[in-house]
């Protein structure tokens, strides 16, 4: 039986390859891409930028991966970012410390997540619609807090979360890497991961097997809200101001995209947070290509769309199956335990 280590490696191999290609594209456009130096007390270089700028999406996709694993989707994360940023900013502007502000922001994000969770798990509203409500209304709430302006602040502690460094390393990088590691450990060292997968694949069966699917569902949306809140605080801290109008705008789509590029199915079930995080970095590398290319901005979307399409086509299960068949071509394919996952999947059925 293959060890868990090699299984993980096999799982994330496609993402690693794609990330390598995306970085290579960057190098082709800008040969100095990998150059990192120490400037002004901080690590300075394009690679650091990719890690740093990818932080919000990376944070979002931790929660989003879990939500998607339960067959849900959370469209409200971008808005929750705005709300959390606004809350944190208004707290420090009113003179509270950065710790209190951070807590308040997390509380706000948690409440948003809870609201989504209750709508989905208790009222049984379809996730996409349930979270659409907050996606629309939440930005209004954020603007209500900031009264529509960019609420600037000077609190060093809060700013440090977004624009500061620890030992030269930008804080956002440390935050998302740490949180990612914690999340991965939490779901894989406990039974949470499996239980979440179970309710994502077949909620009814899981409920009958004694899983508390309702609480678990609420929890994933809660986590998603918390992650979004943290991302919101980072984004606000980065520009020293809460921009309720634009913070996190359309970022939910990037987060979902990252999860999908991470090879996770939107139909729920098996998931990998690590792969999603790689997906986030892939997206950020693509953004970096666009910025470094120096092409006029009218081409941004076309380039992004084409690159994403290429990635998805490469990753499509059907292509994977074809490759598998090519490798296994021959009159008597050897039984290969554990590779059944490469089969084309049509999971829709399983969950009804």
């Amino acid at each position: 039986m293959p060890g868990p280590k090699s299984a993980i490696l096999r799982r994330i191999a496609p993402q690693l390859v794609i990330l390598a290609i995306a970085l290579l594209l960057n190098v082709l456009i800008f040969p100095d891409f990998f150059h990192i130096d120490f400037r002004n007390g901080r690590l300075f270089g394009n690679l650091i930028d990719v890690l740093n700028r990818g932080a919000p999406v990376a944070l979002l996709c931790i929660g989003m991966t879990l939500v998607i694993a339960t067959r849900g989707i959370d469209l409200s994360v971008g808005t929750v970012m705005a709300v959390a940023g606004a809350v944190a900013a208004s707290m420090v502007v009113e003179g509270h410390g950065w710790g209190t502000a951070l807590l308040a922001a997390l509380l706000a994000g948690g409440m948003c997540g809870l609201w989504n969770g209750v709508l989905v798990a208790v009222l049984r509203i379809q996730p996409i619609v349930a979270t659409l409500v907050l996606m629309v209304a939440g930005r209004g709430i954020a603007q209500l807090i900031t009264e529509g302006r960019i609420l600037t602040f000077m609190n060093e502690g809060l700013i440090h979360l977004g624009a500061g460094t620890v030992l030269g390393m930008p804080t956002p990088i440390l935050i998302w890497v740490t949180l990612g590691a914690v999340a991965i450990t939490l779901v894989r060292r406990t039974a949470l991961g499996m239980l979440i997968e179970a309710i994502g694949i077949n909620e009814r069966s899981s409920r009958l097997a004694g899983i508390n699917s309702r609480v678990l569902l609420i929890c994933v949306y809660l986590v998603s809200g918390l992650c979004a809140a943290l991302a919101g605080v980072i984004v606000a801290a980065d520009i020293k101001g809460a921009d309720a109008n634009n913070a996190g705008l359309w970022l939910e789509l990037d987060a979902i995209l990252a999860v999908v590029i991470g090879g996770n199915s939107l139909l729920g079930g098996r998931f990998s947070i690590l792969a999603s995080l790689l997906g986030a970095m892939i997206i950020q590398s693509i953004n970096s290509v666009i910025l470094l290319s120096g092409l006029p901005p009218e081409f941004n979307l076309v380039i992004k769309a084409l690159l994403i399409l290429a990635i998805l086509v490469i990753q499509s299960p059907r292509i994977g199956y074809l490759l598998y068949m090519l490798r296994a071509a021959g009159p008597q394919p050897q039984p290969r335990p554990g590779t059944a996952d490469t089969l084309p999947k049509r999971k829709k059925e399983a969950a009804r």
Binding site: M1, P4, R189, T190, A191, L192, M194, L195, E197, A198, I201, N202, R204, S205, S206, R207, L208, A209, G210, I211, N212, G269, R270, Y324, A328, P333, P335, R336, P337, G338, T339, A340, D341, T342, L343, K345, K347, E349, A350, A351, R352
Partner: protein
């Protein structure tokens, strides 16, 4: 084999590989016109896979397919339907969101001026179903009816579409006697019309009753092709299993009936099941008998908390307990192996290992993960004990054959070491070998002091393991049989007092 008649459908050298499995290996199947051909084999032998290869649901990896002597290559089920091959696949494969009539006529709706004529479609559906003794409203959604009704609709659809060949994959698994009899009379009519029929089932009685010839599969290979008049039951079983099936004398009801474990008083839910009371003792198997739709499944679901009762109470070992969700029930040591394994049992994309451990892990809570080594050990133990056929423990459970899925579900609940085990149709779709094993297992569990409640449509089976049988009719408990009263005849008698076996649904 020099058959004088040319076979309607002739499959030669069919092979099908799945990653990790050789599902079919050089299989030959000859279907003569006007014959009912049984396809037999253990769970996982490859029966369903074979018919999927014949009808274009899977693409075969090798072999030729001749229809009336001409080679065919159906690329999809639609193509095979056009060629006159009608099929009922294992598990009901109809669409829950469409009405009965829409399901019946999907893809071949009566048209008027290019548009679907619903009026005519509904009228035709009513007429078709009446031929099967079903007086139901075809404009209702399919899900308004029980699995049995759905199965009949699926059969009616396939029959309607089969110009030359009709393939039935375990159509009788969820039917009761009357419906089976009806189905057989339909099959005989079709046979007289010269149709070739493939019939898959695990009920050997039915095989010998209706079939002319049989092809027997084992591990994806043909091990026998014979006229049923010329072989004995015993020989067929031996071919299927590759060994003799020890005739087990059911060491009936040894061990002692202990204290009452679960006492149900006036439990009921309006519109679903009338209030009922039931005591189940340790070391006792209570059988639930009744016609389809008599409320057995509802009874089980109510006790397990899968459906919230609106009245009544449950006592466990003399103390009142509240069960609002299956989770509460599991916490109290209850277990329920549900009837509909596809939508209520398996978690398709999880591995067999995870599926087996699921209930135990859910009871332990997420904080206390069961170590991987222990999980593997438990799963291994039950795979061996129940003889579950699989490529590896990491195989997603949806890739297992139907019978093996059922066994894995049984393993899930046995792993929780329940005090009270509810089994709803535990042997549905299970092969003869495993059937005997499961009955032996139920006996064993009872002798070890577990309390069991088993709902089953197979009376012989109920008689074999029940210490007491509760008979339901129209969602009301009508009587209880004990000791020597428990024979298939008395049960049938108790049920048969019902004047309207096919009552219209409310």
């Amino acid at each position: 084999m020099t058959d004088p008649v040319r076979p309607v459908l002739h499959a030669r050298g069919i092979s099908k590989f799945f990653p990790g499995t050789i599902a079919l290996d050089d299989v030959e199947l000859r279907l003569n016109p006007g014959e009912v051909h049984a396809l037999l084999g253990e769970n996982g032998a490859g029966k369903s896979t074979l018919i999927k290869c014949l009808t274009g649901a899977y693409q075969r990896d090798a072999g030729t397919l001749l229809l009336d002597g001409a080679p065919i290559n159906p690329a999809s089920t639609a193509a095979s339907q056009k060629l006159g091959i009608g099929t009922v696949y294992q598990e009901v494969n109809l669409l829950p969101n469409l009405t009965v009539a829409e399901n019946l006529f999907l893809g071949r709706q009566p048209l008027r001026g290019g548009f679907v004529s619903r009026r005519r479609m509904n009228a035709m559906a009513r007429e078709t179903l009446a031929g099967y003794g079903l007086k139901i409203d075809p404009t209702e959604p399919l899900t308004a009816y029980s699995v049995a009704v759905q199965q009949v609709v699926a059969i009616a659809r396939a029959v309607d579409m089969s110009g030359k060949v009709l393939i039935l994959d375990e159509p009788t698994a969820s039917l009761d006697r009357d419906e089976v009899a009806l189905l057989f009379s339909v099959i005989r009519q079709l046979k007289a019309r010269g149709l070739a029929i493939v019939f898959i089932t695990h009920f050997l009685d039915q095989v010998f009753e209706i079939c002319d010839r049989a092809t027997i599969l084992r591990n994806g290979r043909v091990v026998g092709d014979c006229a049923l008049a010329e072989v004995s039951r015993r020989e067929v079983i031996t071919m299927m299993l590759g060994r003799q099936l020890e005739a087990r004398v059911h060491s009936k009801k040894t061990g002692t009936v202990g204290k009452p474990l679960v006492q149900v008083a006036d439990l009921g839910r309006r519109g679903m099941i009338e209030p009922f009371s039931l005591d189940i003792h340790e070391g006792e198997v209570v059988g639930l008998a009744g016609l389809l739709g008599s409320g057995r499944t509802e009874t089980a679901n109510l006790i397990f908390g899968a459906v919230m009762p609106d009245q009544g109470r449950i006592r466990l070992r003399g103390t009142d307990i509240t069960i609002r969700t299956p989770r509460d029930a599991v916490a109290h040591g209850f277990a329920l192996c549900p009837e509909d394994r596809k939508s209520e049992g398996i978690v398709g994309d999880l591995s067999v290992r995870d599926n087996i451990i699921l209930a135990l892990q859910a009871r332990q809570g997420w904080m206390r993960p069961i170590p991987r080594a222990k999980v593997t050990e438990i799963a291994d133990r039950y795979v061996r004990a129940l003889d579950i056929r699989l490529a590896s423990l990491d195989t997603p459970i949806r890739l297992l054959s139907g019978g093996n899925q059922q066994k894995a579900l049984l393993a899930r609940w046995l792993a929780t070491n329940p005090a009270f085990l509810i089994l709803d149709e535990p042997t549905r779709g299970i092969d003869v070998g495993a059937h005997a094993e499961i009955i032996a297992l139920i006996d064993q569990l009872r002798a070890d002091g577990m309390a069991l409640l088993v709902a089953s449509s197979e009376l012989e089976e109920l008689v074999a393991y029940s210490t007491r049988v509760v008979v339901l009719r129209d969602r009301v408990q009508i009587c209880e049989l004990t000791g020597d009263q428990i024979t298939p005849d008395t049960i049938v008698q108790a049920i048969a007092d019902d004047p309207h076996p096919h009552a219209e649904p409310v």
